[in-house]
């Protein structure tokens, strides 16, 4: 299980369409964006507040604020970059409000000024992590990696170029010297094969995941 966080971010071509529809009032489009970015936003907030009880509420507030401010998003930056700043500001504001609360836990304020997503040590156990969640995360990561290893070479290469290297379909077709339709097919089959290994793990996790 290697961390590839230094790799280019995931392509966000689809965000423009979803954001446009969400800005027009399409709740469903916005929910898809929420599902897509909830993990990253919660990880970011979890690194700032380090209190598992605060993370979902701050994440909720982040997405609500983003929804209210969608008309201000002009598409100059990526949607996640914009959402990232909202999450940081929301977490800071929440911590400042909690700071005035005497029952505020000390751990929640531990790193209020630390908004760097990569600042935490990789395997640092915080209050966000529980033994169960750690085990589940390792199982998911192991399943994904095992599924990747089991893929045929062309499928593995296609999904790697797409998900890790961030290439477009056209660039992948050029790199693999095949039609773009073949690229679509390979990426779809690779995702289906990996998902087939991951879905059982998700359904077993306290029944609240998808």
């Amino acid at each position: 299980m290697t961390d590839r966080s230094a790799a280019p971010p995931a392509p966000t071509d689809s965000d423009a369409l979803l954001v446009e529809r969400a800005a027009a009032g399409d709740h469903r489009a916005y929910e898809l964006l929420v599902i897509k970015y909830q993990r990253r936003i919660e990880r970011l907030i979890g690194r700032m507040v380090r209190d598992v009880d605060l993370v979902p509420d701050i994440a909720q507030e982040t997405f609500i604020r983003a929804w209210r401010a969608l008309h201000q998003f002009r598409g100059d930056a990526q949607f996640y970059t914009w959402l990232y700043r909202i999450a940081v500001n929301t977490a800071k504001k929440s911590l400042m409000e909690l700071k005035r609360d005497p029952v505020m836990t000390e751990s929640a304020l531990k790193s209020v000024d630390d908004d760097d997503e990569t600042s935490r040590r990789e395997n640092e156990l915080t209050s966000e992590s529980t033994p169960e969640s750690e085990l589940a995360a390792r199982e998911i990561a192991a399943a994904v990696n095992a599924a990747m290893e089991a893929l045929p070479e062309d499928l593995r290469q296609a999904v790697t170029l797409r998900e890790i290297e961030g290439l477009s379909y056209e660039e992948i077709a050029e790199a693999m010297n095949c039609p773009i339709g073949t690229v679509r097919s390979r990426i779809f089959r690779a995702r289906e094969a990996i998902s087939a290994r991951v879905k059982p793990l998700l359904s077993h996790q306290t029944g609240k995941r998808w």
Binding site: S5, D15, L17, A136
Partner: protein, 196 residues
Amino acid sequence: MDGQLSGAQAAMAVQSMASTEARECWHVYHLVGDVLRSTDLAACGHDTAFVARLAARLQHETPAFEALPALARPAMLDVARPAANDGVFRWKLVAGLASFAAVAAIGWGALGSIGPQPGAGAQLARSAAPAVGTTQVMALAAPVPAASQAADMAPVMLRDARLDELLAAHRQTVGASALGNAAGFLRNATFEGPGR
């Protein structure tokens, strides 16, 4: 999910996300992508209750621009529209012409202020005419009128004897700098004569 759809196809795809299976597939695909990029994202949970709670809150929220007419809506994602600072030739041309016009205007103004200005002399000549009952004393810094120019090649300070006495009296009481320092910027002073 990779931005390969557009227009009606994309709209249909979003509409199809109403089903639980489609949303689960959307979630798992993105989870796989996240885990491939960073394994610690596998630890971040995703639950239906979070989205359901958010959806319930969103029902009471309205984006600010929803009430606006379509024409007033901001041109979001209109990244194809050239900005004023883009490296487009026509913007550079407009900026260059504007700069040239500004420099030309400043240069024209500077050239106009250099050299003799006949209008100024005439104006001084008119304003230098003595008024009835008053004695006007002028510190001439500009060219004198044409009538007296031949006789007065050098600047001449016209003084009135009574004004000199007055100045001398002030010099005794408040010092030599009372009007001496002001003479540098004094251009026109009026003394009320006894005729008033």
